[in-house]
């Protein structure tokens, strides 16, 4: 599925959150969405998932509006992983991940063999198999995040929008999650990941979209987006750079006092 956002504008309580965003998302591409706190990452993902209606501009899914497509169809084709996922009831991980199959199921029908297979794949992919029978409130923050990631993967949608899915994960699982996104994307799924780790963003993503104050400051291959000027302007930081195994990494090194993020 292709998603085309045209001149998307959102204001909350009179304050502009997104100001005329143009963005196109393609199948099989892993896009990293980066930007400072309050730059509009979450709002943009919510607009793209048809959860927040834009005040102006359009979002088209394979050329169709969300209204034409229908919420249920969109739910099968686009999965959304919310930020800081809270789970209200103490459900078992297995039941939580099974929620990802809801768009595919007839109401009140049990899980089909295909559903169960998808749930199994999702658990394995998110490395959450060990928690299957455990109640979510007995898991640590990172473990819970992996279960919620498995929930989003269980939809097996053509497009996955994940809002900070690495929060709370230990370094190993951050690497594994990014490698997983990489693998899923090469299978043809379009993925957008909002994240704060610039090195992971640069290493794993095909393309980075850098937001600054509700605008797209840069939208290009990682090497072009992560240049000193952009990072100074968007985050107000100076970075240390290096390379390992032929891959570049970027470390936030100091906060720049003179060139703060323009708000």
């Amino acid at each position: 599925m292709r998603i085309e956002a045209n001149r998307v504008t959102v204001a909350l309580a009179g304050r502009p959150i997104l100001a005329g965003i143009d963005l196109s998302l393609r199948p099989g591409e892993l896009v990293g969405l980066i930007g400072a706190n309050g730059a509009g990452k979450t709002s943009l993902l919510r607009v793209l998932a048809d959860l927040l209606p834009p005040d102006a501009g359009t979002v088209l899914y394979d050329g169709l509006s969300a209204g034409r497509l229908g919420r249920r169809t969109l739910a099968r084709r686009l999965a959304f992983l919310a930020q800081g996922g809270t789970v209200q009831w103490q459900m078992r991980a297995e039941a939580v991940v099974a929620l990802g199959r809801l768009p595919h199921r007839r109401p009140f029908a049990g899980l089909t063999a295909a559903d169960k297979a998808a749930i199994g794949r999702a658990f394995a992919a998110a490395d959450a198999d060990a928690f299957r029978g455990r109640s979510l409130d007995t898991l640590s923050g990172g473990e819970r995040m992996r279960v919620l990631l498995a929930r989003a993967l269980a939809v097996e949608a053509e497009m996955l929008l994940a809002d900070e899915p690495l929060v709370g994960l230990d370094p190993r699982h951050q690497l594994e999650a990014m490698a997983l996104f990489r693998r899923i994307a090469s299978g043809g799924t379009g993925i957008v990941v909002a994240l704060h780790d610039l090195s992971l963003a640069g290493r794993f993503c095909d393309r980075l979209v850098l937001l600054e104050s509700g605008r797209v400051l840069a939208d290009d291959v990682p090497a072009a987006v992560l240049d000193d000027g952009n990072l100074a302007r968007a985050f107000g930081i100076g970075v240390a750079r290096g390379a390992c195994d032929g891959e570049a990494f970027v470390l936030p090194w100091r906060a720049l006092s003179e060139v703060g993020p323009s708000r």
Binding site: A49, L51, R71, A82, Q88, W89, A95, L99, D129
Partner: protein
């Protein structure tokens, strides 16, 4: 990887239906017990025999005119309260929600009280339930107009709080202005909730409304499951929240509004029963609905049977008994939760 602690979803589903079947059987048993217990001496076998034979004997009349409506209404009202309580807790994702949280029960009670106040209640028997239903309807119109304008769940709850306090104030005002102290007493007693002296006409009046309400509430099961992960995730799973809220408000109004209209306000059933059963359905809000319905029916029938067995006359009001049982129980539950936390 531990496979021992991994229950397969098939056996999971089986144990759920076993639980529902068990609760349904318990409800039937409690209803039978409720039929067997009463103030008049009654040989159930004789009464049933006479009834089936079409003989208008005294035992048959006691059974059909007194015992049966009481047992059936107990089951219907209990089911409505338990189901609506579970549905509201699911919608609000809050274990403190109760069936009347959106203002339905307060409005229904006030609707019935106006019938007392205006004197219609004395004029014809169905004035009370009809007034109650009208009150619930009014509340629904208000809530729907809010929901239609895109109000979120929190707004609806606040509107419900306002509705409940307003209806409570109006009820107090009606009591205040009632010229006849006996009428005031009658209102107060009615408000405490009771299943005594209801007839099959009441059953036929509320049954279709309740069935429609139950269907609406039960249809929300998958969406309530989805809501576990928050409103955004629920919508991304294909559930339209304003449509969900509309069905839940409509369903609660039909089920709880008509329950209050025939029995007065009976507290705690809708709050306690979902709590009690939640661990047994793996904390899944969708599965809690049906289980809570039967659990509520069981509890209400048990309370109503208990108050007839107690040697206290005039009999205690049902709402008083459910609160007397429910409040200490809730305390115990809070204690346990505190220890677990």
């Amino acid at each position: 990887m531990s496979t021992a602690a991994m229950p397969s979803s098939a056996s999971d589903r089986l144990s759920y239906w076993r639980l529902v079947g068990l609760l349904a059987a318990a409800t039937l048993a409690m209803a039978a017990l409720s039929l067997a217990v009463g103030y008049a001496e009654l040989d159930l076998a004789v009464a049933l025999g006479d009834w089936f034979a079409g003989r208008q004997s005294l035992p048959a009349l006691v059974l059909v005119e007194l015992r049966l409506p009481r047992a059936v209404l107990g089951a219907l009202v209990g089911f409505s309260l338990g189901l609506a309580g579970a549905a509201m807790q699911g919608l609000l994702r809050n274990p403190l929600a109760e069936p009347g949280v959106v203002g339905i029960s307060g409005a229904a009670a006030f609707g019935a009280v106006t019938m007392f106040y205006s004197g219609f209640a004395g004029a014809f028997a169905l004035a009370l339930p009809l007034g109650g239903i009208a009150g619930a309807l009014l509340a629904v119109v208000l809530l729907f107009s809010l929901n239609g304008r895109g109000a979120g769940t929190m707004t609806l709850i606040l509107a419900g709080v306002a509705l409940n306090s307003f209806a409570g104030a109006m009820t107090a005002l009606a009591l205040n202005l009632t010229p006849n102290p006996y009428a005031a007493l009658e209102i107060v007693f009615w408000l405490m909730g009771s299943l005594a002296d209801r007839s099959l006409v009441h059953v036929w009046l509320v049954l279709p409304l309740m069935l429609a309400g139950w269907a609406l509430l039960l249809s929300c099961a998958p969406a309530l499951d989805g809501l576990t992960l928050g409103e955004d995730t629920a919508r991304s799973l294909g559930f339209e929240l304003s449509w969900l809220r509309g069905r839940l408000i409509g369903g609660a109004a039909l089920a709880v509004g008509s329950a209050v209209a025939v029995t007065g306000t009976i507290g705690f059933v809708g709050l306690v029963v979902p709590h009690l059963l939640r661990p047994l359905v793996g904390h899944r809000p969708g599965r809690l609905l049906l289980a809570s319905g039967f659990g509520g029916a069981c509890l209400l029938l048990a309370a109503d049977t208990l108050l007839r067995l107690l040697p206290i006359r005039p009999e205690l009001k049902l709402g008083v008994v459910t609160a007397l049982i429910g409040a200490p129980f809730l305390f115990g539950l809070i204690q346990r939760l505190r220890r677990e936390a």
